[in-house]
Point group: C2
Chain length 348, copies 2
DNA sequence: CGGCGGAACGTAAACGTTTTCATCGAAACT
DNA sequence: AGTTTCGATGAAAACGTTTACGTTCCGCCG
């Protein structure tokens, strides 16, 4: 990195060709002798030439950058998501412009707007986006994919976690483990994920324990709310045999309440969460939960976005849904080589 | 977002002025009548005009974007760091280009190079950077600040966590709590943070327990290595009364080994980590540790970077160091309103 | 041998800004 | 009243590319 930066003109002069030829060679457009190709490459290398991305963007209209607009996520979710997006983006030769920590509509709108013209596409994860928001803040020709969003917009596909199936599977698992009554602690009232998970809970109960009564306690995804919900549950006349919290932090709070009251988990009451955050493995007892590969979510989003960017418009049905898995640990009472639930031997 | 995008010419035509005046108004350069100002603003608003950032970058040479190059960090550290940087950047009207998950020199070098020309400055956190790396991959006129790096480069300042002081404080705390012998579990051999923390351990021991023998076990920052180290410690002829691990994950692994062996923490042996990751609060017993405000680290880095970008070059001494604090929880045996270690009443 | 097609290459326009410089008029001075 | 000064404005250059279009040259076919 010695002197001033070399331009395409310098390369052209050094290689004794026109700038058009330099451009052709460096972009691999063909129509150039191998001879001049070599001359150009040599000159470019010699001068440490790097094309000016601003000039290029100006004329091509492409930035080779995609933008990610994210809310104030908890650590792990955030890092995994970015990791997934970034890795996939790099593989496609794209840069990643990040704007995180938005906690209001106006905040998110501002972020989206300032990215205008700086990106070729966007990945948006925000509970505030809806149809009007998108129509009002996104240039109509900018490809975008929505993450974990209920909105079904004609122009923008979305990728969702299969909350319903995941919750359903966990509730079934609890039921199968012999806990005939299971309570559910919700997330914040308007939250999409929470609503979906509740649907899963209801569906599983309806299907596998039709005569059991539903037992739904309000929470808001915080540890604090889980703690209160736990106390509430202990105060109930007829305690449930198991508790399924809408996310892991809530479950952890609930666990604290149980511990404090001397109620044993899972012996007295089983417990499960959703998300499989890192902490889940380290609380005592370790927390059974529903896991999602967040990195895959990010990767899928980017891949879908690049498809959009490469012309094929949103056909209206390219939304995808990502499956999630029950991860069994100690808190649900069905852990380890449990002889009772062991599989029958294979027939061969 | 109705039609095609409006350019400065369109605004000029609509406002019946020259493009120069439009530019002047929109950039607040003065030398324009309030009358024309209004006309321009009105026209711009009417056309939904947004200046083309590529064209602007092309001529001004500034991108209003800063780049962050980061390794494969664990969740919380990563998200907090980005959050700190992003928030500070937004406050300064800067965008954030992220490239994460680098696990090799070549990887990091590539990331740095592709950002060339797209950013006005860089924040780099990588164990691979050293003098030659910087000289070879960074344009000489590009401001950059290093995070948590030992390199003392004339051109690039760095911001470091005060590992030594933090470790020293924790060891002193353990000693003060009555644990006369404390062992130390290191991080990976070449790791800078680990080395600094070890220095702190040695310094504190030398100062506050000069006759005690040093007891250093090798680890590598992983939970697994902590587990092995824990077993090793239990096998020692003369067990230490306390263990200080170079990071929290190691401490957690160590804790698992102790639990498994039926050794009680902190009664039989006290334990402390470093980093204050989220998990530290949730293990049983909760882990005493040394906390750092990572978000502040990111924020400081950005602020320092903007100073560099605003002209005042690196004076050679604008490296900063961020203090960290002992956070006392259960595992060190000095928790709660411990009368023995209460402060004497103030003299007034 | 003349015309023609195509490959290689160069010229110049275009992208949308910022910024220098010249112009113009009016106000302010002598 | 003539001249100067100054503030507001516009014309045009410049930034570094890509790309449409022309030009040249060569080989080929009729």
């Amino acid at each position: 990195m010695t002197t001033k930066k070399a331009t395409i003109k310098d390369v052209a002069r050094e290689a004794k060709v026109s700038i058009a030829s330099v451009s052709r060679v460096l972009n691999g457009l063909g129509g150039v002798t191998t001879e001049t190709q070599n001359a150009v490459r040599k000159a470019a290398a010699h001068l440490h030439y790097v094309p000016d991305s601003a000039a290029r963007s100006l004329i091509t209209g492409r930035t080779h950058t995609i933008g990610a607009v994210l809310p104030d996520l908890y650590g792990e979710f955030f890092s995994e998501l970015i990791r997934g997006i970034d890795l996939a983006a790099r593989a496609k030769g794209l840069h990643l412009l990040v704007s995180s920590s938005h906690d209001g509509v106006e905040d998110a709108a501002a972020a989206v707007r300032t990215m205008r013209g700086r990106v070729d596409g966007m990945i948006i994860l925000s509970e505030f986006v809806d149809g009007p928001f998108l129509d009002g803040n996104l240039p109509s020709d900018l490809p975008a994919v929505l993450l974990d969003s209920p909105v079904d917009h004609a122009r923008y596909p979305s990728i969702n976690i299969d909350n319903i199936a995941g919750a359903q599977a966990m509730v079934k698992h609890l039921l199968d483990a012999g806990h005939e009554s299971v309570a559910f602690i919700t997330g914040p009232a308007g939250n999409y994920d929470s609503q979906e998970r509740e649907k899963g809970y209801r569906a599983a109960m309806a299907k596998h324990a039709p005569k059991a009564k539903l037992n739904i306690i309000a929470g808001d995804f915080t540890e604090e709310s889980g703690y209160r919900a736990g106390q509430e549950i202990l105060a109930q006349a007829k305690r449930p045999r198991a508790v399924f919290a809408a996310n892991d932090m809530t479950a952890v709070g609930c666990l604290m309440a149980f511990k404090e009251a001397g109620v044993k988990v899972p012996e007295d009451i089983a417990l499960a969460g959703f998300d499989d955050i890192l902490i889940a493995r380290y609380v005592t007892p370790s927390l059974s939960t529903v896991g999602v590969s967040i990195a895959d979510l990010g990767k899928s989003a980017l891949l879908l976005l690049t498809e959009l960017m490469e012309g094929k418009g949103h056909t209206g049905s390219n939304s995808r849904t990502l499956r999630c898995d029950v991860v069994v640990r100690e808190s649900c009472g069905a852990h380890q080589t449990n002889v009772a639930t062991k599989q029958p031997p294979a027939l061969v």
